[in-house]
């Protein structure tokens, strides 16, 4: 039921605003400069509204942007999206649109826009647009000019400069050629003629002396004229050659453009076909379309617990170093994903898909009443520091344990008298964090964080241990178990001090917690957790 005005995104439209941005040097720079401005805040009834006044500078930059001929040809949606991404508010964008004189033509097909982008990004000679300069290239220009009116504006003066340069170069070339090649030959020919005349002069000095010099002169004059004509001809032929080669180049460009267009149309038609028949595959890869798929080598074997998945697909090592650039780098996809993508893009349907009828069997089925009343959220209740008390507030009522609904007969049995299931948090580590957090309020400011450290939970402060002897006393009754722990502890004592501290601290808190609730009952669980801590600290 979507409105039909949205343009069909056949290729990621993100490219287009970015391409527009790259073309327009001046307005975007200005916009970017002002995008980081802090705007004054005013109190308003709703916090979720832009309460800033309209920024005139931003509006003017936007007007400049919108008035640019290149932008005129793009769909309105992309212009809006571009301005939004630059940080303009709705009011500013609307004002800018109001100020731009001509309503932008919305019928510009996205296909031509794409072609214009393709041309602009490739550094190829501009196709000839103005026919005054290139009379020989009339036919291809006629065809190319239909491809995009924008190109004419863009390449107009470039083209003039280039053509003039080309003519000058060809003229210079021919003159050089003539100087070096033809004139020496002419000179030598003239010299030869004159020599012959001199010889004949000796025989018939009078008459031939008169005739020959004039003849020679005439000959020389004729030769000069011929030379000049030849030079002209050479020039003209050079020009012809150049224009022909240029024509060839244009033609090649044109063919490439056509090929590109054909490709795009092919892809669009396949997309449409797929849309009609099945679900759209190309669209689902919108998330990953931005990234290229690079083949990568697997050298990071991981344990899988369920089955040894043989299709441990090829992927690259996760880099743990800080990502310095914000560019979206390639997320290596599993090999089977690539295979399925390739299959689907060829038009094949994976074999494992079943025909499922997932329509409601009874569309008018009444929705039953709920069996439970909605529970209040932890953030709605008290805002006190002691949120852990809420967590420990046992919601293990009868309905949870013996779920009436679709119960597979699992009843929860706990070791000991405690009714707290294993997934409830047992110790008060979180409260320590919270105390810390409350002290640290006011640490606002953009904080960039790098270097992910692989470690598990590290409490910021050790719990207050008033009497270490008491801790020992507590430990002793479970000596059989704790000795194990201590032994393991010593084995990893080579690790950093932090982790040592961590283990001691957590052991204390663990044992402390266990003693409070139920020493024997929760012991197996607490051991597991400690072992986990050991395991994870070893991994560090």
């Amino acid at each position: 039921m979507a409105t039909p005005s949205s343009p069909p995104p056949s290729s990621p439209p993100d490219e287009k605003p970015q391409n527009l941005a790259s073309e327009l040097a001046q307005p975007t720079n200005e916009i970017q400069q002002h995008a980081r401005e802090e705007a004054p805040k005013q109190s308003s009834p709703s916090v979720f509204v832009n309460s800033e006044p309209m920024r005139e500078e931003q509006v003017q930059n936007a007007v400049k942007f919108l008035s640019h001929p290149k932008v005129r040809g793009s769909p309105v949606m992309y212009r809006r999206s571009f301005l939004e991404r630059k940080g303009l508010t709705k009011e500013e964008i609307d004002e800018a649109f109001r100020r731009v004189p001509d309503p932008p033509p919305s019928t510009q097909a996205t296909g031509t826009n794409q072609e214009a982008q393709v041309i602009s990004t490739s550094n190829v000679q501009p196709p000839a647009q103005t026919q005054a300069l290139q009379p020989a290239a009339a036919a291809p220009t006629g065809a190319i000019s239909s491809a995009g009116t924008l190109m004419r504006f863009r390449f107009h003066w470039y083209h003039i400069v280039f053509a003039v340069g080309l003519l000058a170069a060809s003229g210079a070339g021919t003159t050089v050629l003539i100087k070096n090649a033809i004139i020496p030959r002419l000179k030598s020919w003239i010299r030869k003629v004159i020599l012959e005349e001199e010889e004949e002069e000796k025989e018939d000095p009078v008459k031939k002396a008169n005739a020959k010099p004039s003849l020679a002169e005439e000959a020389a004059a004729a030769a000069k004229a011929a030379a000049a004509a030849a030079a002209d001809v050479a020039k003209a032929s050079q020009e012809m050659l150049n224009s022909k080669s240029e024509e060839r180049r244009h033609f090649k460009e044109f063919m490439n453009l056509l090929d590109v267009q054909v490709q795009e149309m092919k892809s669009m038609s396949t997309a449409i076909r797929k849309l009609e028949g099945q679900t759209n595959n190309l669209g689902r890869t919108s998330l990953v379309d931005q990234e290229d798929y690079t083949p990568s080598v697997a050298n990071h074997p991981k344990q899988t617990y369920v089955n040894g998945k043989a299709e441990s697909d090829s992927r690259s090592v996760r880099s743990l170093s800080a990502p310095a650039s914000a560019e979206p780098s390639v997320a290596p996809h599993p090999k089977s994903y690539m295979e399925i993508m390739a299959m689907v893009q060829r038009g094949e349907r994976p074999a494992n898909i079943r025909d499922i009828n997932d329509q409601p069997p009874n569309p008018n089925q009444q929705i039953s009443n709920t069996r439970l009343a909605p529970k209040s959220k932890p953030w709605e209740a008290s805002k006190s520091l002691n949120n852990s008390s809420q967590a420990l507030q046992s919601q293990v009522n009868g309905e949870d344990l013996n779920s009436k609904v679709q119960d597979n007969g699992v009843t929860y049995q706990f070791d000991g008298e405690s009714a707290i299931p294993w997934w409830q948090r047992k110790n008060a580590r979180i409260t320590e964090i919270e105390n810390e957090d409350e002290l640290k309020d006011g640490h606002y400011g953009a904080r960039t964080n790098e270097q992910p450290i692989q470690r598990t939970w590290v409490p910021p402060q050790p719990p207050p241990v008033a009497m270490p002897e008491a801790v020992e006393a507590i430990r002793r009754p479970k000596s059989s178990v704790q000795k194990e722990q201590l032994a393991e502890d010593q084995s990893v004592s080579h690790s950093t001090d932090v982790t040592d501290e961590l283990q001691r601290i957590t052991k204390i808190s663990e044992s402390g917690g266990a003693v409070e609730v139920n020493g024997g009952g929760l012991e197996p669980n607490s051991i597991e957790i400690k072992e986990v801590q050991e395991h994870s600290s070893e991994e560090n």
């Binding site: 832009n50 099945q278 919108s286 949120n387 597979n408 049995q413 598990t456 597991e528």
Partner: protein, 318 residues
């Protein structure tokens, strides 16, 4: 810690707001490219060394990208399906009587669904057709359609305190704040230079919102001064797929990423990365923190596994 192996690739996991030990998983065949889908309703076992048990499963013709439990009804579940439909399931009824409703209005894949936690009567769906739709369970058609984004809307999230406000994250690199009482969006935050895949509100400070993007970073914004983020969290190796604020702590949040890890952050601290879990062997795509049990996390990914663990423990331990 208990795990569950799904036959299809995992896409989303959500804890039930009514039952501590219950969660639902959305899966899609063939990585969601083309294939069927399935919704699993799982229960936590009595002991962490046992696997999760499946209570019921629903099959769909197309992949399920996201789901949301109803906040008003303990057994209702809304699924966002790749064929553009929004399906309502009653987990108390057998699969033969499901789905209760199939709402077909979106023209492209529905990528996310979120249930209003305060009003409890409505939910929003966001789709690759650039729109967000507002629905209630009792109506057969959407109440409103919000169409402003220029590209796929990957995520939409209700504000936990203001019943009529929600945010949407889109591939057009902006986050928009909406008020259902207003005709259009009320704020536009140009959050990242690349696609924004997820957004979530802070549960304890109604003006803070976190965004996760393809540029591998998570940014925390205060809507009152949205020109610059409050915090930028780097540390993921690839695009961050999902971010979620903790329901129990103001400063904590979790995120999952294409670098196959799940990370926990404290954005108020200088060294914000507080925990890192690398249990998945494929893209980690779905993530949830339990509202009823503090510190309980669940994640799923394209490696077809669902993990549930307490923060601070090893998800792969048993």
């Amino acid at each position: 810690m208990p795990i569950f192996k799904t036959p299809f690739n995992g896409y989303s996991v959500k804890f039930s707001p009514f039952y501590e030990s219950r969660l639902a998983v959305a899966t899609a065949q063939n990585f969601g490219i083309l294939g069927n889908g399935r919704v699993h309703v799982l229960a936590l076992p009595p002991s962490p060394s046992l696997p999760l048990s499946e209570l019921v499963a629903f099959d769909t013709a197309d992949g399920v990208y996201d789901l949301a439990w109803s906040e008003s009804h303990d057994s209702l579940l809304v699924a966002a399906v790749a064929d553009g439909s929004v399906k309502l399931f009653d987990t108390a009824l057998p699969p033969t009587q499901n789905p209760l409703r199939s709402l077909q209005e979106h023209t492209r894949e529905v990528h996310s669904v979120d249930y209003n936690p305060t009003r409890r009567d409505s939910f929003i769906t966001s789709s690759w057709d650039d729109t967000i739709k507002l629905w209630t369970l009792d109506r057969p058609a959407s109440i409103r359609t919000f169409k402003e984004h220029a590209y796929c809307v990957y995520s939409a999230a209700w504000n936990p305190r203001h019943t009529d406000v929600f945010a949407s994250a889109s591939g057009d690199c902006t986050v928009r704040i909406w008020d259902v009482r207003e005709p259009g969006s009320t704020m536009i935050i140009p959050g990242h230079d690349f696609e924004i895949l997820s957004c979530d509100w802070n549960k304890y400070d109604d003006c803070l919102i976190a965004t996760a993007s393809v540029d591998k970073s998570i940014r925390v914004w205060d809507v009152r001064s949205y020109r610059a983020p409050i915090a930028v969290l780097n540390g993921h190796g690839y695009a961050v797929r999902k971010v979620k604020f903790s329901p129990h702590h103001r400063n904590l949040m979790v995120s999952c990423s294409y670098d196959m890890t799940v990370c926990m952050w404290d954005f108020m601290v200088e060294d914000a990365l507080v925990g890192r879990y690398d249990h998945h062997t494929e893209f980690a795509v779905g993530l949830d923190m339990s509202v009823l049990v503090e510190g309980l996390l669940a994640s799923t990914g394209w490696d077809e596994l669902v993990y549930v663990w307490q923060h601070g423990t090893d998800p792969r331990a048993s």
